[in-house]
Subunit: 123 residues, 2 copies
């Protein structure tokens, strides 16, 4: 990351949903942005990695096996490692993600929407 980046501008330039883009790194973690719309990824977990969601715009529901967490603009939530979760956004939601390098965005579950880390381009 050589220069500053504006989160809103960067998110505005993303056209695909559920396709995280890397915008920065802090030692062992990546900072990513992603647009979420609908309910299009399967239940999954990240065995060894916590995953932080920060809502830049819109609303997001994180379903867990035993509860639901509703997030609005400005809310921050950390999904603990190993816990099954399912993100759902009835309307488009802009999200900042912070997760350790090597985290697969759909956990160990590969499906048609899974984007390999080397395809989560730097912007």
């Amino acid at each position: 990351m050589k220069s500053k980046i504006n989160i809103q501008v960067a998110l505005n330039n993303i056209s695909n949903h559920f396709s995280p883009q890397i915008i920065g790194e802090v030692n062992d973690v990546y900072i990513k942005i992603v647009k979420i719309l609908g309910e299009k990824v399967p239940w999954h977990n990240h065995k060894g990695e916590d995953e932080l969601f920060y809502i830049v715009k819109g609303e997001l529901t994180l379903k867990f096996r035993d509860r639901e967490v509703h997030l609005k603009e400005g809310d921050l939530y950390v999904v603990p490692k190993g816990e099954d979760h399912l993100p759902i956004a009835p309307k488009e939601c802009w999200v900042l993600l912070i997760e350790p390098k090597g985290t697969k965005h759909t956990g160990e579950i590969e499906f048609e929407r899974t984007v390999a880390e080397d395809e989560q381009h730097w912007i």
Copy 2:
């Protein structure tokens, strides 16, 4: 971190400047919030740790030995490990910090405003 936290509300509740508060952790990094006003910390660097600044509200200037970076609301910038820097905010600025656990907020320089990590309370 057991529940969601709203960044704006949490920052609104902080009264001290240059006193980072921990609000979450993602594996080996802490998520902190801090209010900055004026030019009150000395030049410093973090030898082994990158430090991410995300501007929640206001404007911040990061001075480096060879340049200045001006950040506005929504801007994100990573200060590379080892690089001397000095944060300045003529008006109050609300900042989200992401940095590895163990990072001292004024680097190796101890001065009257240095807040030890065990005093950077969880909120």
